[in-house]
């Protein structure tokens, strides 16, 4: 018996490991000179987070939302935008829109995005006048009044609308149909922002996703194919006639607006190239070729800081990085943030 107790004690002692915890940077009362980053988190982990990166001391706090509001952001943060004095966060699996005060990050309102007992799963947000537009995976674009923060109407579009952008007084919505795989959608809905009605659907390619608007008002949309034999492809939509005018032949994974260019990343690559939206040449120019990035998960250019920010998801289940580059594509620094960083807002 003594022998057994001795062995048990020995095991407990050996098994006990002293742990150290890194100090967490403090969050400011008022937000200035920093970056607010949305970390998507992982499905069913309730770990979507906002990170605050302070320019002054380069510190990072990955629990910004929790510390400000004493609760979590929710499950799978999908979009982060600032409009006027408010920040809007679309939290997809939790089916909420979080609205924060842009000056201090405190919650103003959480809007539950439910249609009866069916979660609408909000994806992306865009703004026009006093309205916010939210793509909902149940096949609608919800219209918010940005003053009283209520939903004023629902506009039916295609299947599983993903992204949206405003151009030429119209709203362009990419209908992915991703939940109908392999019978995905392949259209972009055009909504007249005066009548708030869908006026056209433009066929682009299977599984449309990211959609942006260049300085000339042209729309660029990526159709993501089937992730196998049908590759992702970039398409151009001309917004006066609302027609697809070009299918580009280069390989593409994701894109971001960069001055009068698009930043283009290729599938399974960390090389970033530029596409000139003025000349629209198929010949892409190398921009970042040697980035300290494991898995490129997104890009963002800020005209405020004149920097390019890349999101590194590492292996999608480990905490990621925001990697900063100069406007000429030179690496400057990286910040260790949360799980799957994907969007950011720059504060002067």
């Amino acid at each position: 018996m003594k022998f057994s107790i001795l062995i048990l004690c020995l095991l407990l002692i050996v098994g006990c490991k002293k742990e150290t915890t890194k100090p967490t940077a403090e969050i400011p009362t008022w937000l200035k000179s920093g970056l607010l980053v949305l970390n998507e988190g992982m499905f069913q982990f309730n770990n979507a987070k906002l990170s605050w990166m302070n320019n002054a001391d380069q510190s990072v706090n990955n629990d910004f939302f929790e510390q400000k509001n004493n609760r979590s952001l929710g499950d799978t943060g999908n979009d982060l935008k600032r409009y006027g004095g408010k920040i809007y966060v679309a939290v997809s699996t939790s089916s909420t829109i979080e609205i924060l005060n842009a000056t201090n990050g405190n919650s103003i309102k959480q809007i539950s995005m439910m249609n009866g007992s069916t979660p609408k799963q909000p994806r992306s947000i865009a703004f026009y006048g006093s309205s916010a537009f939210v793509t909902c995976y149940d096949g609608f674009v919800d219209v918010f009044d940005t003053t009283n923060l209520t939903i004023t109407m629902r506009i039916p579009v295609g299947q599983n609308p993903e992204d949206l952008v405003v151009s030429n007084n119209k709203l362009y919505v990419s209908n992915s149909g991703g939940l109908n795989f392999p019978n995905v959608d392949s259209t972009v809905s055009v909504i007249n922002l005066n009548t708030l009605q869908e006026i056209k659907r433009i066929t682009v390619g299977p599984n449309p996703g990211a959609i942006v608007c260049d300085a000339e008002g042209d729309i660029y949309v990526i159709s993501r194919g089937n992730y196998a034999a049908i590759p992702a492809q970039l398409h151009r939509i001309e917004t006066f006639s609302d027609t697809k005018t070009h299918d580009f032949t280069f390989a593409i994974q994701s894109m971001a607006i960069f001055q009068d260019k698009l930043l283009i990343s290729e599938p399974n690559s960390i090389v970033i190239k530029t596409f000139n939206t003025l000349t629209e040449s198929n010949n892409l120019i190398n921009f970042i070729t040697n980035a300290p990035i494991t898995t490129l998960y997104g890009m963002y250019f800020s005209s405020i800081t004149n920097k390019v920010y890349c999101f590194d998801a590492v292996n999608y289940s480990s905490t990621g990085y925001v990697v900063q580059f100069s406007v000429s594509g030179n690496y400057e620094k990286k910040y260790h943030v949360g799980l799957n960083p994907s969007k950011l807002i720059v504060y002067e």
């Binding site: 069913q44 309730n46 004493n70």
Partner: protein
């Protein structure tokens, strides 16, 4: 933790001190002999005393076993031994290996605990002719034996019912009759569980009190078996068992969105036909099994064009095997055997209709010349057909176990290699399946020390098993294109070392018998896939460093009381060991008692348990919550 243990001890002793007026009937001694195959076992008395709803609840009593429980009653429960992964554990139910064609692991939550006479963890059983070859080549065998196999009475019967918190109602019956050459057994159980239990979880610094929704379970289980002795030395056995279930699936708690509307229904049917010849020096077993599983998953909130998702799967497994055991001398025997298994799965969500044929052969030997030496060499070959392609692979799997005993101490050493074939879901599931997957390879090395100590009215038995386990080609689902597009790859490598500790004690105390069982597992299981990865050398998800339990019981006359303390150490929900992924350690305390009344060889038994006495809200898997304090009461009438 220490406070809880002291409280538990004090509570139990107080209970005992008020109960010492009964006469002692018998002293139950734990086994003095060393079983070289069953490294841990639970007998019928301990199983019955727990009032467990299913086998998954009983598995936490074993050292080295991590039970992955996705919720309470009705939730998926799988057993993972020494961090090898649930797919490396072969569940054998009355000598039939359970099919894992589709999901790769047996759901222990579907196996009722009411008719079970023994559960054992077996690591090496080279010349045990009744165990299937498939299982003998797996990482670990979890052998479940029901009353159908074990009972030897001329006539035997059991009728019972159980009721409990959150709308639990179940009824069960078992009957058995033996004639000179024939034995027939039949058992059945039906269960209804509302599952609307209250619970609390932390959302940041905010505590949320709510009630579990969409958690109802209805299931039915039945088994018929018959054995016939047509001639001396020959035994023919037939077994037919099946179950049917409808479960609501509440899923993980999703903050601000508790609207899951998912359902799972299934039907399973198993046939088994076995012939066993037992001669003086020869034993010959031939066995044929056929298993059919039908599974339907629906999600009525799925946002596709149809407005719902419905996936149906139909799996079939047919296998036959032949094993011959020769007794070479009075100390040495050998076994040679071969099996062939065909697996099929039909589902609209699979990119192809897979069909796989696996042949497994083995040569085993057991000799008692110097200690007990069990050795075997297995040969596993499989051919998988899909579309116009055929893949074929062959593997050799050696393992050895040597145990020597000197007086009250036994010492053993074991080495084992095993394979886990990729499941059909991993191979062919649309978008994410990968038909190039190779089997997972597991290796285990363990030492075993047993010490039995007897003094006056006490007996102690200590088992200590340090182990090292290594898995390569680990099959993991990883996001490939983006967070929503995953694929399954052979990318993982894990390394684990640790120690299992088990202490059992029985002693006469007052007019009764007190028993104690302590189990403790220390394991350090880390990801060693890629030195450049941030998760390199981090603990793998849901693998606590410390886990264990203490069981105390006291028996006198017709009364029995017990308390059970369980502890799960801190663990991480993802492979990166950072505070954001940390799940706090938790412990639960269950207490219970039973009274047995006998008259005219018939007994009436009433049991009551209070589970999670301290009402702590916890979960094995992040956000798959388990109920707080709950009560079960069971009545049995045995004839």
């Amino acid at each position: 933790m220490l406070k809880t243990i002291l409280f538990l001890g004090a509570f139990t002793l107080t209970f005992i001190s008020f109960s010492q007026y009964k006469e002692i009937e018998e002293v139950i001694l734990i086994g003095k002999s060393v079983d070289s195959t069953r490294i841990y076992r639970l007998d019928e008395k301990r199983i019955l005393a727990k009032n467990a709803c299913d086998v998954g609840d009983l598995m936490r009593l074993f050292p080295g076993v991590q039970v992955t429980s996705y919720g309470g009653i009705g939730g998926l429960k799988t057993a993972n031994f020494r961090s090898l992964g649930a797919g490396q554990t072969s569940v054998v139910f009355d000598y039939q290996a359970q099919s894992t064609t589709q999901s790769g692991a047996t759901d222990l939550g579907l196996i009722p605990a009411d008719f079970i006479s023994e559960i054992a963890v077996i690591q090496q059983a080279s010349t045990d002719i009744l165990l299937p070859i498939k299982s003998k080549l797996s990482g670990t065998i979890l052998a479940i034996q029901t009353k159908h196999q074990a009972a030897t009475y001329k006539k035997n019967g059991l009728v019972g019912m159980q009721t409990g918190s959150f709308g639990l109602i179940e009824g069960f019956a078992f009957g058995q009759k033996r004639w000179e050459k024939l034995k027939i057994s039949i058992s059945g159980k039906s269960r209804f569980y509302n599952g609307a239990f209250p619970f609390t979880y932390n959302n940041g610094a905010t505590q949320v009190h709510t009630t579990r929704k969409n958690n109802q379970v209805i299931d039915h289980y039945g088994m018929f078996s018959c054995s016939y002795t047509p001639a001396k030395n020959h035994l023919l056995s037939l077994g037919i068992s099946g179950n049917s279930y409808d479960k609501q699936l509440p899923g993980a708690i999703i903050f601000y969105n508790e609207h899951a509307k998912q359902y799972l229904s299934g039907n399973e049917l198993d046939f088994q036909l076995r012939h066993l010849y037992t001669g003086k020096k020869i034993q010959l077993k031939s066995q044929l099994n056929h298993q059919i599983n039908q599974l339907t998953y629906t999600d009525s909130n799925y946002l596709n064009a149809a407005g719902f998702l419905k996936n149906e799967f139909h799996a079939q497994q047919t296998d036959g095997e032949l094993q011959l055991k020769l007794t070479l001398t009075n100390k040495t025997s050998c076994l040679i055997g071969s099996s062939v298994r065909n697996e099929k799965l039909v589902a609209a969500t699979l990119s192809l209709l897979p069909n796989r044929t696996v042949s497994e052969s083995m040569l085993g030997i057991t000799t008692n010349y110097f200690g007990v030496l069990n050795g075997q060499v297995g040969l596993l070959a499989y051919t998988a057909n899909f579309s116009d392609k055929t893949a074929a692979k062959t593997y050799i799997l050696p393992s050895v176990d040597w145990l020597i005993k000197r007086k009250q101490i036994a010492f053993g050493v074991a080495f084992r290699q095993s394979l886990r074939l990729p499941t059909f879901s991993e191979l062919y599931y649309q978008q994410i399946g990968n038909n190039q997957l190779l089997p997972e390879k597991g290796s285990q090395f363990s030492l075993r020390m047993l010490h039995t100590y007897q003094r006056k009215r006490m007996i102690f038995q200590t088992i200590i098993q340090p182990f090292f386990a290594h898995v390569t080609n680990k099959i993991n689902a990883i996001p490939s294109k983006n967070l929503f597009i995953w694929s399954i790859q052979n990318i993982g490598k894990t390394r684990a070392f640790g120690t299992e500790f088990s202490e059992q004690m029985n002693s006469r105390l007052g007019k009764g018998i007190i028993g104690m069982a302590v189990n403790y597992t220390f394991q350090y299981c880390v990801d060693i896939t890629d030195p450049a990865s941030p998760t390199y050398n981090n603990l793998i998800s849901y693998s606590p460093l410390h886990s264990g339990g203490i069981e105390l019981n006291y028996n006198w006359n017709s009364w029995r009381v017990f308390s059970q303390f369980n502890y799960q150490g801190k663990r991480y929900a993802l492979n990166e060991s950072i505070p954001a992924n940390e799940l706090a350690a938790f412990n639960t305390i269950d207490i219970g008692g039973s009274y047995r009344f006998e008259k005219n060889n018939r007994s009436f038994n009433i049991r009551m348990t209070v589970n999670n006495l301290t009402n702590k809200f916890n979960s094995y898997i992040n956000f798959f919550v388990l109920p707080g304090i709950n009560i079960n009461m069971k009545l049995n009438y045995e004839i």
